[in-house]
Amino acid sequence: MKKLNSNRLVFSALAVLTLIISSCTKDLLDRTPTGEMSATEFWKTEGDATVALMGAYSAVRPLFDRDYYFDGQGEYVRARGTSTTKDNLRLGDAYNGGNYNPSGYGSSFDKMYRYLYGGVSRTNYVIENVKKMLPDAKTPASVANLEAIIGEARLLRGMVYFRLISMWGDVPYFSKVIYDNAEVADLARIPIAQVKDSIMADFTYAFDKLPVKALQNGRASKPAALAFRGKLQLFWACWNKNGWPELDTFTPNAAEGDAAYVAAAADFKAVIQNYGLTLFRNGDPGSWGTMGNAETLPNYFYLFMPIANGDPEMIMAFTHGGTGTSQGEELMRDFSGRTHEGSQCWVFPYYEIADRYQSTVTGDFATKMVPTLPTATGARTKANSTLNPESYANRDYRMKSSIMWDYEMSIGLTSLKSTGFTPFIYKTWNQAVTINGVNYTSYNTDASVYGYVFRKFLRNYAGLGRSEGDYSYPVMRLADVYLMYAEATNAITGPQADAIDLLNKIRRRGNLPALKPEKTADKTTFFAAIEQERIVELLGEGQRSFDLRRWRAIERVWNPPYGAGVWRIDTHGANRDRYFQNSSELAYQQCYIFRIPPGERDRNPNLTQNKPWL
């Protein structure tokens, strides 16, 4: 009897345990995500396609929206560093660690390479998945919408591959979603011609399917696809005409180059003519204002303020958001000093840009300025002295809009509030200054060592922090298309009337008179005029170093190998930096083509290296 009782107790104890066990386990080991979207819940509706596309934009935007650093590889802009945040793509990790000096940079863009392919994966993800939706699309409107989304993604993918080939030449190519590392682990490089054709296909598809006008600012449109297709062909033409000896797998073909110029010109012409696009504020110069005053600034300045967001001149731009959106740009942080929300002035002009700004009176270069020490007698009053504000009078309006010299004002900003005007005075940082009886505290940065800082991209209104800019950064401007059209046509047939006219339209923005006949006399002089406009118009937009490479002009600018190189000086006349002094041919070659990331070559034996980097 007793034994039976015990057994029953044991039994019931076990039963209790079993009960607990069976009752609690249900979803113990099956946790669902709470803060992130479950992948299985996605790709259900047409709206999901747009959401995925936005994701692709967010991944491609940071591959282009700090291109201004690349200007450091040219001869007019110094990029002493970057404001990028390591391991944060949105905050510029693609540009992080890059060398933005005129030489020695070719081996420092492994991260850019990596994130560009990241952009490829992001766009492939959209293209492939939206394609799968097409057969189920119910209405023609649906089909059009989905195709337009594919078109946008293909345009973005094309831009990414275009950048890859223009830096590295032959590159691996894939156009589908990758599910396992093994699928790409042994990819070899594809000849540049073949990659170019794939990019052309992307741009052409985009051109066919995109709307004439972008659905919203920041998204792509037909003219954008066309402009990029034109640009690709222009570059292709340059490589074929000028050669790319560092890319030893590539054989230039002059005939193909000519054909590409023609095709490029046709695309550019279509952009210019077919969509009713105009320059910002109709290309009017606006008002210069007065020397040492920034109450009024020329129109060109406002082209780089959010007021120009969505303007027809911005054929393609990447949008940014202000406070609280976590999508701000950091233009102010990079382009201005501590006086402006504690900005860091990573990027500033070389002194030499000043003489590039032509006279509004003669329409030609002005007398060269004379670098002067402030302690020299009459430093502030002598004619052509760099420290005499009058030396900057009657110049291209884009000068006042782009750079600041001594006693030029900008609005100081602290804690999202204006602190009033602050005068820039080289080497007089953060000092009390009295000008015309008014007390100011001078601009503060010790970063600028050439005597100028940028005004371009520097906000003149309060309310946004240094990392909270809401400017839509242009990657394709109508002015650039004008200049590329002129370049393409000039290369085939020399100066054309319509091209000259377009150049004059751009010059009008600087309040410069039309080009004199001697500037358009032949291919060479007109090319010089085009280059001059590219330098001034596109300053700080990351075009210059790509131009120098495709024109094979590095030796022209910095002197040939084993030469004296070139000094950069400041407005006080001091020698600051010298580039390409006694540099070998190899150093030049390593500028013309970038290094395939060696870490990747260690993994992948099929991946070849560019010749100068072997």
Partner: protein, 1032 residues
């Protein structure tokens, strides 16, 4: 939901029983008597327990006891630490006189192991146990982990900061077991994952360190790196309620700190000298006039020409106060322990404060003769104030504000009380971004408070003899809240009487709130069966089913523009566009089946087998479960007659142990890592955020547990009647399938996070020894303990590509090398002459630069000239050792603890010994003035200022981090009981204690025990304390 219901049911059942109180009394008989030593001295505090039952008492001051014994009881057990336990068979005589003999072996010593206790003699695994006594609680320690330093071989304890509240102590059992989280599992009263540093040391009764597979196996899934079991006090076996009060106060000073140069003209001169190396004198940032001016005016105008001794301004004498009061007691039916404590620490740094309050209540009640219930409650609360994450510095890469002591130039006034302004840069051409740390530490503080409650209850039932069923339920909850509400302030230039450009905190200063809350529940069902058969065979079997569940959430919010600097809640600031917010939650489940069988025959042959079968929600179905078995054998060979006869004279006990088994680890994998999810990647459309999603996961469905296989062989010996005991252990731990992000082509890493794979194998091999001598001579008792351990870590395989100098998470990895091995250039000293430079391989050096050796002789210096050191680790020592001793005479006791380590080398290159500092804003130290090589100082220990390649990791900067440290010395006095009784006290001990009194090392940096980053400046503390323990 179900979980909750079960919990409520349990509560409803248990509460009435708990409230039932201490009423029931059975048919009992009173026994009383005296317990003495052999020489007749009475012994207070001897535990008198009815054998086989939880009934007992302790002897009083005169060694007297009286105990009510249930009718059926046959034997009383008398036990006392250091004395041989005695069993007295109960007869008709109810007055007993018991004489006890000293025995230092502690044969009957019981050790807490997973899900139970075991006699120490029957242990087959590698378990070290620490009894927390006066000697430990009297030390001025701010957390339990630092108290373990030097006590247990194989447990390495390294203190990484002296910052109040930071508790930066890393605990490691038997080397680094995995490149993922290698921390041991901490289990407090059966509840895993309790923060060891929030436990009140005064509440702890014992700590067991489970080091091998078999002892840790019952926690197998997460015990690969060993287990620390903490058991808190109870009133078990006591009859008289005792109340204890302890109180101590300590003063802290740094063990060593950087000597910043409070002499700005000299600092600028150094800047000039540095600049003169590469630039024309005319181009020097600082001008001679500035130096002259500052030298002259600095003597008369400290406001405009300050020479600030920042270290002096920013530090103070730290202090630690510990106050605790506890009460405990019990009877046949129930026992309790209740305690409250406060720890108040003021750090060396101004405004770095930490207070912790602890409350504990432990209670057990016997419902039926075969049924018990109990509850434990531990609540703690802390308040923590700090300026920067590392105290004086902040290693956050996104923090570009230069909050680093290296930018705290001497030529800046901290604060002017007359105007209320904080100083900024004043000297001509000084960098306006130079930094005033005083304002940071006064105006820009973090306030963090945290509450934790750890509660548990159990109900056990022994329906038939030997079989016990038990249900445990535990709930831990925490809430942490942090806010920042900086006070607006700007830098001020007292020379120009104007604000400088640096705004430390803008006028629109906001408030940020951060809330973390979470809970963890654990439900265990346990069956134990114990049977002795054929008299000499004992079998114990244990089966446990366990479920653990974690849930954590985080929420933060912030607004700009507070209405007033005195306010710090969100409502006290402007709502609108300048708001930020965020939040998320994670959860995790773990389901486990645990089994254990212990078998012993003739108390000589010991056998143990364990298994644990775990499923974790961190992995995907199909890979969720891991099975971790282990076995152990023990042989007490001195119990064999043939051994006994031979060794009886000198060997009092001997045991050989061997165990082998596997343990698991899933800590490298984050909770949602294996879930297929899309990540936000938004875009801006028409001024508003447009929702965007991207796929950055490539989940590896096969990812599963890391497995560590451990072989342990141990030998325990007791000599000379147990006066000398030794324990020796050898182990071999192989961790296989360490899960790491797999190597991925950079064609993909720009979009995808590399999926984790079970990649590498890591082997730890080592030996441990522990030697204890205890004896007494007359009234003089003394003891000595030596312990040491050696561990070597080798990465055995890594099934991914590893290039030369390959790193993972910034640690050097290579096959057959320790994880983060030393990879260094060899130096041939500082070049004294140009001839030295020409004699060396060309490397762009000048006299005064460190010359590097061309190891491969190819005529150039590059990475191929680096040498790898196969037996040296950069992050931790290979060998730890400690020596402790104690003597007691009459009421006096003295104890001393030395602790040391060797086998670690690292580069001494940080922000404060930089010979290539910036041309502005650098806070030079006196070493910068005295040490760099120059023509007048050819014997300088540092290379020249602004030379080339002098910050490269060469053997020149490679320091041996071996050290020996006088960790603690303590002198106490117990007042005679006779005196105390007059004032109604039971015991009174007063003591003085000193921590980290002396350190012997060749390391040139801050402290050889630390593993700080390049900007770390918070020293370890040396402290002197006085305290009192009162019992009544």
């Amino acid at each position: 939901m179900k979980r909750k219901r079960v919990f409520i049911k349990l509560l409803m059942v248990l509460i009435p029983w708990l409230l039932a109180g201490l009423s029931a009394v059975a048919q009992n008989k009173m026994y009383s008597g005296t317990v003495t030593e052999k020489n007749g001295t009475s012994i207070p505090g001897v535990a008198v327990v009815v054998k086989g039952q939880n009934i007992g008492t302790v002897t009083d001051v005169d060694g007297k006891f009286s105990l009510s014994v249930p009718a059926g009881a046959k034997t009383l057990v008398f036990s006392f630490v250091g004395l041989t336990s005695q069993e007295i068979t109960l007869g008709t005589n109810t007055t007993l006189s018991v004489a006890m003999e000293a025995n230092v072996v502690g044969v009957e010593e019981v050790v807490v192991v997973g899900f139970g206790t075991q006699k120490k003699v029957n242990l087959t695994g590698a378990v070290a146990s620490v009894k927390i006594d006066d000697k430990i609680t009297s030390r001025s320690l701010t957390n339990v982990s630092s108290g373990l330093s030097g006590l247990v071989p194989g447990l390495s304890v390294s203190q990484n900061s002296g910052m109040a509240g930071k508790n930066a102590v890393s605990l490691l059992i038997r080397g680094m077991g995995t490149v993922n989280n290698a921390n041991p599992l901490v289990v407090v009263d059966g509840m895993p994952d309790v923060d060891i540093n929030r436990v009140n040391m005064n509440d702890v009764e014992s700590i067991s360190i489970l080091k091998d597979a078999t002892s840790a196996a019952v926690y197998g899934s997460r015990a690969a790196n060993g287990v620390i079991l903490i058991t808190t006090k109870s009133g078990k076996g006591m009859q008289k309620t005792s109340i204890n009060v302890t109180s101590s106060y300590a003063v802290e000073v740094p063990t060593k700190s950087y000597e910043f140069m409070a002499d700005y003209p000299r600092a600028i001169t150094l800047e000039q000298r540095l600049a003169a190396v590469n630039s024309l004198r005319a181009n020097s940032t600082f001008k001679d006039g500035t130096v002259d001016q500052w030298m002259a005016l600095g003597m008369i105008d400290p406001l405009r020409y300050p020479n600030t001794d920042w270290w002096n301004v920013l530090t103070r004498n730290g202090s630690v106060q510990n106050h605790n009061i506890s009460a405990s007691g019990g009877n046949e039916k129930s026992n309790f322990f209740i305690s409250v404590g406060i720890m108040d620490e003021k750090g060396l740094q101004i405004n770095n404060d930490y207070q912790r309050y602890n409350a504990r209540f432990n209670y057990d009640y016997k419902l039926r003769p075969n049924m018990n219930v109990g509850v434990k409650f531990d609540g703690n609360w802390s308040k923590y104030t700090y300026a920067l994450a590392d105290g004086f510095t902040d290693d956050d890469p996104t923090n570009t504000a230069g909050f680093d002591l290296q930018y705290a130039i001497a030529g800046m006034l901290p604060y002017d009380p007359a105007t209320g302004y904080y100083g900024g840069v004043m000297a001509y051409n000084e960098d306006p971004q130079a930094y005033n740390p005083y304002t940071q530490y006064v105006n820009n503080l973090n306030y963090q408070n945290r509450q934790e409650a750890n509660t548990s209850m159990y109900w056990d039932w022994t329906p038939i003899k030997g079989l016990t069923g038990r249900v445990d339920y535990a709930l831990s909850y925490f809430n942490q809240f942090r806010y920042t509400a900086a006070i607006p302030n700007r830098s001020y230039n007292f020379q120009t009487n104007a604000f400088g450009s640096r705004t430390y905190v803008g006028d629109n200063a906001g408030v940020s709130n951060f809330t973390n809350t979470g809970y963890k529940t654990q439900l265990n069902g346990r069956l134990t069966y114990n049977k002795t058969f054929s008299q000499n065979h004992n079998l114990t079997a244990l089966f446990v089913y366990s479920e653990e569940f974690w849930y954590d959430r985080f929420q933060n919010g912030g607004r700009n523009d507070r209405y007033s600097p005195t306010l710090h809640e969100l409502d006290a600031a402007l709502a609108g566009v300048t708001q930020t917010s965020g939040g998320n939650s994670t959860s995790e489940g773990l389901q486990s089946y645990i089994g254990r069988v212990n078998y012993s025959a003739y108390d000589k042959y010991l056998f143990e087998a364990n298994f644990r079968y775990d499923g974790s929600s961190k992995f995907l179905p199909g890979s969720q479960f891991g099975f971790f078995p282990s076995v152990a054998l023990g042989w007490r060979f001195t119990e064999e007659n043939f051994v006994k006869t031979a060794t009886n004279k000198w060997l009092s006990s001997g045991k050989l142990r061997a165990s082998y088994g596997s343990l698991g680890n899933n800590s490298g994998v984050s909770r949602s890592e294996q879930l297929e999810t899309l990540t936000a990647g938004h875009y801006m459309i028409d001024g508003a955020i447009a929702k965007g999603l991207v796929n950055n996961k490539m989940v590896n469905p096969n990812l599963s547990w890391e497995e560590t296989k451990v072989l342990n062989i141990g030998l325990d010996l007791g000599f000379l009647k147990g006066r000398l005991t030794t324990e020796l252990d050898y182990y071999d731990r192989l961790t296989s399938g360490m899960n790491r992000p797999s190597d991925m082509s950079i064609l993909l890493t720009g979009a995808y996070n590399a999926p984790r794979k079970n990649i590498g194998n890591l082997r730890n091999r080592g030996i441990e020894g522990n030697l204890t001598w205890r004896d007494e001579v007359g009234q003089f008792t003394y003891g000595l303990n030596l312990n040491a351990s050696y561990n070597s870590t080798i990465l055995e395989s890594w099934n991914e590509y590893l290039g030369k100098g390959a790193t993972t998470s910034n640690k050097f990895v290579f096959i057959n090398m320790p994880f983060n091995y030393v990879y260094s250039f060899e130096d041939i000293g500082i070049a004294q002459t140009w001839q030295d430079v020409y004699n060396a391989t060309p490397q762009g050096a000048s006299p005064g630069d460190v010359l590097r050796k061309d190891l491969n002789g190819d005529g150039k210096i590059d990475d191929n000239d680096k040498k790898a050191y196969p037996n040296i680790q950069r992050d931790r020592p290979t060998t730890n050792f400690a020596m402790s001793g104690n003597v007691a005479w009459k009421g006096f006791d003295l104890s001393i603890l030395f602790q040391g380590a060797t086998g670690r080398k690292d580069f001494w290159i940080n922000n404060y010994n930089n010979v290539n500092f910036g041309v502005q804003r650098y806070a030079s130290t006196w070493d910068h003035w005295d040490q760099p090589w120059n023509l007048e100082n050819r014997v300088g220990a540092w290379p020249r200022l602004n030379g080339s390649n002098n910050r490269v990791e060469t053997s020149f900067w490679l320091d041996d981090l071996s050290y020996l440290r006088l960790k603690n010395i303590q002198l106490g006095y117990n007042l005679p009981k006779k005196w105390l009784r007059i004032v109604g006290l039971e015991s009174l001990r007063i003591y003085g204690s000193a921590e980290n009194l002396a350190t012997f090392t060749k390391f040139r940096g801050l402290d050889p025990e630390k593993t700080g980053n390049a900007s770390d400046a918070y020293p370890l503390n040396k402290s002197f304390s006085l305290g009192i323990n009162l019992g009544f």
